[in-house]
């Protein structure tokens, strides 16, 4: 037990990484599923164990192969990424419970074990990006998760999934390459890849143009990966045509982990003084974030495909997170981190609810969902709760996020930002209401007339996430406390 505790940081990555190819060997669909579920829940337990260790003993530094940093690769777990690790493994574990029934409906039988392989690889990549303290290692895991995501998206039944996946491959690779150019430039100036060491060695050379170029490349590269408006073009189609399980998983985790890496690089490595006091990145982030909120929400109002609608809503929600980053205060970062968690939980639940509808109707076109609320009351109730949370109604997690974001804006004295954040929520009312109106205020007809409630295996995971939405909305001390601890760590920066 002591040995396991000591090696938890590496086990967190190695266990799902080794499990992924084993899924191909196991072949039998049920068997593979049970195996993958055990692995993801074990990862959740390990993430919880790491969080406990961090809370009791402070940041953990794990040296791969016993090589001391900065020469060897270091895995570094602190309050910020322990929180993200829990988030990713929680979503990964819950969504996997939902997977078998949903992929049986949406994927050919032969692809099932390959699906679990790609899923676990994507899961590994996201956890790896989060846990590592080595800049180049982030790139490697970024590509591990991205490549498996392209494969997962391409499994969608609609042929448009293929085009969407290809588009994402092009844009994702450009983003990742920009990121690796940025790391190269930083390595040129510092001679190290360890993030903490880099942060220290960067201080004397911050004024050089090479560092400025690195800053620019990293900003654009990471903004592409986290789908900051106007670099979001890959996202709507990718989310809309991927299988429901995949959409839930990547919508809840992929952009969130990129936001975390963004925070790590700009607050941790470049440091707050350089990124915000000298270069004023906030004048770039806050307007684009708010523009993203308004443009994406407005586009969402006019979507007829519900998956696309929620995809545009995701872009808007990323906008809120970016505004939080740009407010440069503990409260602002708390808002971002707490919204990472909150948005993952609610958007995961919403996409799972849509998966239930796909299973029964084979479509999520709004025009064919008249009266669905009367035929699938439990599913639609989940959708409504998730929708309320997107709007930011009190007693849901969405409210907690908005509360922190608005207080951070007021703290900074930027009241127009606070007003715009609240106006943005009104647009969310518009697109959620459109769905509610169709689902509840029409008589069932056509496809919906003889639809039945989704099976329990789908409803249970959906409601676990909705339960989390409501629970953490009512008592936010746990999530907001962890987010605040993370925000304080980030404001301190990596350099001592």
């Amino acid at each position: 037990m002591e040995l396991i505790n000591q090696h938890l940081p590496i086990l967190q990555i190695v266990v799902p990484l080794i499990a992924a190819p084993l899924c191909i060997i196991l072949r039998r669909r049920q068997l593979v599923w049970v195996f993958a579920v055990v692995v993801t829940w074990a990862c959740l337990a390990m993430a919880g164990g790491l969080m406990l260790q961090v809370l009791s003993q402070g940041p953990i530094s794990y040296h791969l192969g016993g090589w001391e940093p900065p020469w060897g690769i270091e895995y570094r777990v602190d309050a910020v990424n322990a929180f993200i690790l829990i988030l990713v493994s929680l979503i990964g574990a819950v969504v996997l419970l939902y997977a078998p029934a949903s992929i049986e409906a949406e994927l050919p039988e032969a692809r099932a074990s390959l699906f679990y392989t790609a899923y676990l690889l994507c899961f590994t990549g996201l956890l790896g990006m989060t846990i590592t303290g080595d800049a180049f290692n982030v790139f490697v895991f970024l590509e591990v998760s991205s490549l498996s995501t392209y494969a997962l998206i391409a499994m969608g039944t609609d042929r448009r999934a293929l085009a969407a996946s290809f588009q994402y491959l092009i844009m994702g690779t450009i983003g990742a390459t920009f990121f690796v150019i940025g790391i190269g430039l930083l390595y040129m100036m510092t001679g190290t890849l360890n993030m903490a060491d880099m942060a220290i060695r960067l201080q004397p050379v911050l004024a050089t143009r090479t560092v400025l170029a690195a800053f620019a490349f990293l900003t654009v590269g990471l903004s592409l990966k986290l789908a900051l408006f106007p670099l979001h073009l890959w996202l709507p189609n990718a989310y809309a045509y991927a299988p429901s399980v995949v959409t839930s998983f990547i919508a809840a985790t992929a952009t969130k982990v990129s936001v975390y890496v963004f925070l790590r690089f700009f607050y941790g490595i470049f440091g707050r003084e350089y990124a915000f006091d000298t270069l004023h990145l906030e004048y770039f982030l806050v307007p684009l974030g708010l523009l993203g909120v308004f443009v994406a929400s407005t586009v969402a109002v006019f979507q007829s495909n519900l998956k696309r609608l929620l995809a545009y809503s995701s872009i808007a929600q990323v906008g809120y997170m970016v505004v939080g980053i740009g407010l440069v205060s503990v409260t602002g970062l708390t808002a971002t981190l707490v919204h990472l968690f909150n948005h993952a939980v609610m958007k995961g639940a919403l996409f799972l609810a849509l998966g239930c509808i796909v299973m029964r109707l084979g479509t999520v076109e709004l025009g064919e969902l008249r009266g669905i609320g009367k035929r699938m009351p439990v599913t639609m109730a989940a959708f409504v709760f998730g929708g309320l949370s997107l709007i930011g109604v009190p007693l849901t997690v969405g409210f907690i996020s908005k509360w922190y974001l608005v207080s951070a804006a007021l703290e900074r004295g930027w009241w127009p930002v606070a007003v715009l954040v609240l106006l943005g929520s009104l647009l969310a009312v518009a697109y959620i209401w459109k769905v509610v109106e169709t689902a509840y205020f029409h008589e069932p007809e056509g496809k919906t007339a003889d639809a039945t409630e989704a099976p329990l295996t789908l409803l249970l995971p959906t409601w676990i996430l909705i339960g989390a939405t409501l629970y953490f909305g009512a008592t936010a001390t746990f999530t907001a406390g962890l987010a605040r601890a993370g925000a304080e760590a980030l404001m301190g920066g990596l350099a001592p």
Binding site: F136, L147, A151, L169, I181, G184, M188
Partner: protein, 116 residues
């Protein structure tokens, strides 16, 4: 003379921008992959260039005191090459399936097929 010292970087920027331009301008998916590969490859040259030590040889075991180039960027690029190959493989596999599903690999024809 500044140019010879920086010529590699000029080449890198030229290749990078050519690749980027091809990705953006062409509608043919295979050509897009060619551009993307060119774009990625320029980064490999960039890393190798910055690891070069003036007068140094390849970082292979040699007599003590021999000056050699920084091996770390070489190792990183070995990893990046593998990533690049994987990306190309996935991209090409997708193009094959797109061709099967749409009967074309031209971006505008795929768009047109979806509009109708």
């Amino acid at each position: 003379m500044i140019l010879p010292g920086l010529i590699n970087y000029w080449v890198v920027v030229f290749l990078m921008m050519s690749g980027f331009y091809v990705v953006m301008s062409t509608g043919n998916l295979v050509k897009k992959m060619v551009g993307l590969t060119l774009f990625q490859t320029s980064v490999f040259i960039f890393y190798i260039t910055m690891g070069k030590v003036a007068g140094g040889t390849a970082p292979i075991l040699a007599a003590p005191g021999t000056s050699y180039s920084n091996p770390l960027p070489h190792v990183l690029i070995l990893t990046a090459i593998v990533v690049g190959i994987a990306t190309t493989a996935v991209g090409m596999a997708l193009i094959i399936r797109i061709k099967e599903a749409y009967g074309t690999i031209e971006d505008d024809e795929i768009q047109a097929a979806e509009q109708s």
